[in-house]
Amino acid sequence: MMTPDDKPLRYNEGGNVHMDFHGATDTTIDFIIKNYGIDVMDQIFARVGHDVYADIRSHLLAGNVGELVKHWHHFFEREGAEFHINVETDEVILTVSHCTAYAHVKKIAGKVSDHFCDQTIKTNHALAQGTPFAIDTEITGPGSCRQIIRRRP
């Protein structure tokens, strides 16, 4: 399930982080849903999962979750989130206890879209679609969640 390698991620940003982009994501989600409906928003997230993250998806298709776990480590670290990744024999669990994306939107906008976490739920779903794995995203509270990768039966 996990095949570690030393290669850098396909997208491996460094430097500073512009958290205000999360505010634009929040605005975008509400705009698309209001004007085109939630199915269109889901289709856009599906393209992110399928096309933007094609490299992570190719690793999942090959039976390797290591690239996605490396992606989680890299970007949750960069964003200063409180998180923990537990790698078991049959599953990988990412527990996010403080999502800084959610917190930042709350701080700058006062409220967060009811569909803000769809970016995680739907993109994860698209990443896993057609691969040997399922990725389930459980929202456990405002700005907290569990993301679980399991091999499909």
Binding site: H18, F21, A24, F31, V48, V52, E79
Partner: protein
């Protein structure tokens, strides 16, 4: 979470969908983003004018890891983007870039400048290269002179550019 580092790749997917709905759909979205950006810019620009704009884009230069030069004068602010990380990330992408990705920048900045009575001249130069020059003028005549020298002048909702066809 789509990381903030990958927002521009998400943005690119949104643009590609909206482009299928027509220019009015893109313009409506840029206006929505412009309203979103007002929370970061409007009071600063209103209170400090061109100096406030310099402060904002200097903050962007640092946070977004931009290679850009800012030149503040009494009558204008000039921003010269030498390496735009936004277009750069969209081009370094396993998903296809939207051909008019660059247009969004004037699309959200222009309406804010209109609201405040400044005159934006946004020269994208070439949509395939992550470089551009943005000038903001107090005086409309100086802006009109600069427009005549632009290679690829961007418009925004309410203002037509010199090249909006391709």
């Amino acid at each position: 979470m789509i990381p903030s580092d990958h927002f521009t790749k998400f943005y690119n997917e949104v643009f590609k969908f909206l482009e299928t709905q027509g220019d009015d759909a893109l313009h409506a979205y840029w206006l929505e983003i412009s309203k979103n950006q007002e929370r970061h810019t409007l009071e600063l620009f209103r209170e400090k004018g061109l100096e406030g704009m310099r402060q904002y884009w200097d903050h962007i230069r640092v946070e977004e890891n931009c290679d850009l030069d800012l030149d503040l004068n009494n009558d204008r602010l000039e921003l010269r983007m030498n390496a735009c990380p936004s277009l750069g990330k969209v081009m370094d992408n396993d998903a296809e870039p939207m051909a008019r990705y660059c247009d969004h920048c004037a699309g959200w900045i222009g309406p804010i400048m209109d609201k405040l009575g400044y005159h934006l001249v946004y020269d994208v130069i070439d949509r395939q290269k992550p470089q551009c020059v943005m000038r903001v003028f107090k005086d409309v005549k100086l802006a009109q002179e600069a427009e005549g020298q632009a290679k690829l002048l961007m418009g925004w909702p309410g203002k037509t550019g010199k090249d909006t066809a391709d």
